[in-house]
Symmetry: C2
């Protein structure tokens, strides 16, 4: 038990924990603290004791000791015998105010709140730094998968070039189901809801807000810059069709909602960050293509480490609680040893590259008139905007002629202008789908 030898003389004899929220994750956190009490004490160097659990409705029976429950989180976090606050409520307020207050009072905070962090990490990290306490949030991105700590610590000596991940289980479940069964979006969404993979109001997931918040957090850490959710270009999956997945398969691709954070070096050497979320075609051979259902995966490319991949369960009570508890043990250990983990690092202060300047590839599906010269005309519009075509597939589609074009890499703005121009062509009766393509080098 080498660890104990380093314990400070004035170290606390026990560590008090306040748990804010008793939903799926909170319930599992309480279970782990209770069931693993002996192991946690040994790993920390002092026992971890729950001082209280803040819930909205005291009336409901929750299977935990009644006397621990309170509906007054503001008083709970202020208790002198609370050393660590675990926030698993979600939403901006009241968590923002509670966390800031807790930090100011010298309590370390562990949170899984991606929406909050994607907006207010700056303010919260400043409060943590001023009080010399920890603000940990491994569970905010990709559930149980260690991603925040590896990016912040293990890669602290490297230059991260790119982070691309599937970090939303709901949309991945829907897109996987569409790819496997041929179902359309509405059917797959309804099934996801029925199985508990989609919430009653699925907007935050299907429109990419959740993935964008996580992209903001990942980009901030990866590039040592402050990136908020508003900086992230975002498209959801609600317009992805069964036809898109069928077409993707013909190009040996599938469609995934990706959160991408990329270092973009411009011609003059200026470095910018691109942070973006959208459904994209990726080759079936790409490591992210096989990530199906509710699983998450994050691929990190760094200058010296090369390509790393992290894979696991991205949501769910127990997996998320595992990530929370890893942070709790580290924060508790730091309380015992008077240490502190790294907080945000924003020295690089890289600016955000506008999406129009970001090089991407496009997949464009359109209905065209069945007459000579149409392909020539369409190709001409791409050429006019300096967009090089990588592949074309033309086929009958129930009486209409469908044309699918996959481009080489070009600035997103040029691609968007090309699509606008295609829509104005008389021979193009409809542009039925525009998706980006990722995971290839061309």
């Amino acid at each position: 038990m080498t660890e104990d030898m380093g314990q400070h003389a004035g170290a606390p004899r026990e560590l008090g924990v306040a748990v804010l929220g008793l939903g799926n994750v909170g319930t599992e956190v309480v279970r782990i603290i209770t069931e693993n009490a002996i192991d946690l004490r040994e790993r920390i160097g002092a026992p971890l004791v729950i001082r209280g659990i803040a819930v909205r409705d005291l009336g409901r029976d929750r299977g935990v000791a009644r006397e621990l429950l309170t509906d007054d989180p503001a008083s709970l976090i202020r208790r002198d015998d609370v050393d660590i606050v675990i926030e698993v409520v979600g939403g901006i307020e009241p968590p923002r105010e509670l966390i800031r207050t807790a930090l100011e009072l010298g309590k370390s905070v562990v949170t899984a709140n991606k929406a909050l962090l994607a907006e207010y990490t700056g303010e919260l990290a400043a409060a943590a730094a001023a009080a010399n306490v920890d603000l940990y949030f491994e569970a905010a991105v990709a559930g149980a998968i260690p991603v925040v700590r590896p990016l912040m610590q293990s890669l602290a000596g490297d230059q991260v070039e790119r982070v691309a991940g599937i970090v939303n289980g709901t949309t991945n479940y829907i897109l996987s189901a569409m790819a496997e069964t041929g179902a359309d979006y509405e059917t797959a969404l309804a099934e996801a809801g029925r199985l508990g993979y989609a919430e009653a109001d699925p907007t935050a997931d299907v429109e990419g807000y959740d993935a964008a918040a996580k992209a903001a957090i990942l980009a901030s850490i990866a590039f040592h810059s402050r990136v908020t959710a508003a900086d992230v270009y975002r498209e959801g999956i609600s317009s992805v069709t069964a036809a898109d997945l069928a077409s993707a398969a013909k190009f040996d691709c599938t469609v995934k909602l990706l959160s991408i954070c990329e270092r973009i070096t411009e011609a003059d050497g200026t470095e910018r960050i691109s942070a973006r979320v959208y459904p994209a075609l990726i080759p079936l051979a790409h490591p992210l293509a096989t990530v199906s259902g509710a699983y998450n995966a994050v691929v990190v490319e760094a200058h010296d480490a090369g390509r790393l991949m992290f894979y696991g369960q991205g949501a769910g009570g127990a997996p998320t609680a595992s990530a929370v508890m890893g942070d709790v043990v580290m924060a508790a250990r730091n309380k015992v040893h008077s240490g502190r983990g790294p907080l945000e690092s924003t020295y690089a202060s890289l600016a955000i590259a506008p999406i129009a300047q970001v090089p991407t590839r496009y997949y464009v599906a359109m209905h065209v008139l069945d007459r000579p010269g149409v392909l020539e005309g369409v190709a001409g519009e791409f050429a006019k905007h300096h967009v090089s075509i990588a592949a074309v597939r033309q086929e009958g589609d129930g009486g209409r002629t469908q044309l699918i074009v996959i481009t080489h890499r070009a600035p997103d703005g040029a691609l968007a202008e090309t699509v606008a121009a295609l829509k104005n062509m008389e021979a193009v009766t409809a542009v039925t789908s525009v998706l980006r393509m990722e995971g290839t080098d061309e």
Copy 2:
């Protein structure tokens, strides 16, 4: 730049580094410290300055400033202006003595030395704890892939049940080549040597010593117990044949050298650790089956997190240096903020389960006489030892009859006794191959 606000008043104005060893990894470490000086300073909160580089032969030109080189590492680590020692020499001595001395003198140490750690973590961690400094070794297991820190920190609140990984690139390259080209072991080994994937003396790799050292390190961390290389059951790949890989393919499997660390709960509730390294059949659908060439991957199964996978480059100068530098930045940051990361945790003190008691599955290939009743006799031997057969394949093999049996899970000792009995059967002319099978639940 929130980070700076937390800097201690008495924090060092610069951090001195001693680099021991200037091989593949050392050269990359020196390059990164030089090239990324500005970023490293911002991330640490103080500049990182190389005080000296210890090499064996001062005469060789190495492309670094001559005045930094020394052939006296013992003096270098004793310098008052050295705060962190990076050991990338390898081998037990002199690194053991140098690292212990450095720790006793209050220097933090970052090492990639798996052979040393697999024997002497206890002694070194005790020295680090006594001096309240860091001993980090992310690079010792799986190169660039963050595995040590996630296991030690991110999963600190969880119960790890199993760690199984491909952590030796040389053997993975050889087995991948055998699977892909049908080459025999000697040919694939020679090719690996030609391409720089195998050393002139490949014993440490092909006989599994390297993988066993890493298994010992992983098991120690995962199960909070002291496990040394001698505790790891070990078989290498030199007896794996082209025929084994061909047979494996017929069962939709491939063969990989696995390092497995498992928590075994016995009937009376006693928990033991199994740590073992051997070539094993794994189903082609298993996530480790697609890890080919010089890549490494580690699958961790934990009670709450579920199954996690970490994938990336397991060796090579730059990837290993990336892992070293992540540790250096964290150790340097701790020097600036007067903190310290976790050291070894051995409170659980679980005993090692003898291999004979570990439940595994066997793949047994044998030549048998082509006469009635042979299969019945063979099956009888398995039954006699209470080993249940999962699959049998019988086929002509150039005039001889080959019988392949895959078993269900049974104690390894019972399986070994079964094989011994088979060898004594008159109808069995030769047992040509015995491999274990992993990655299935049966």
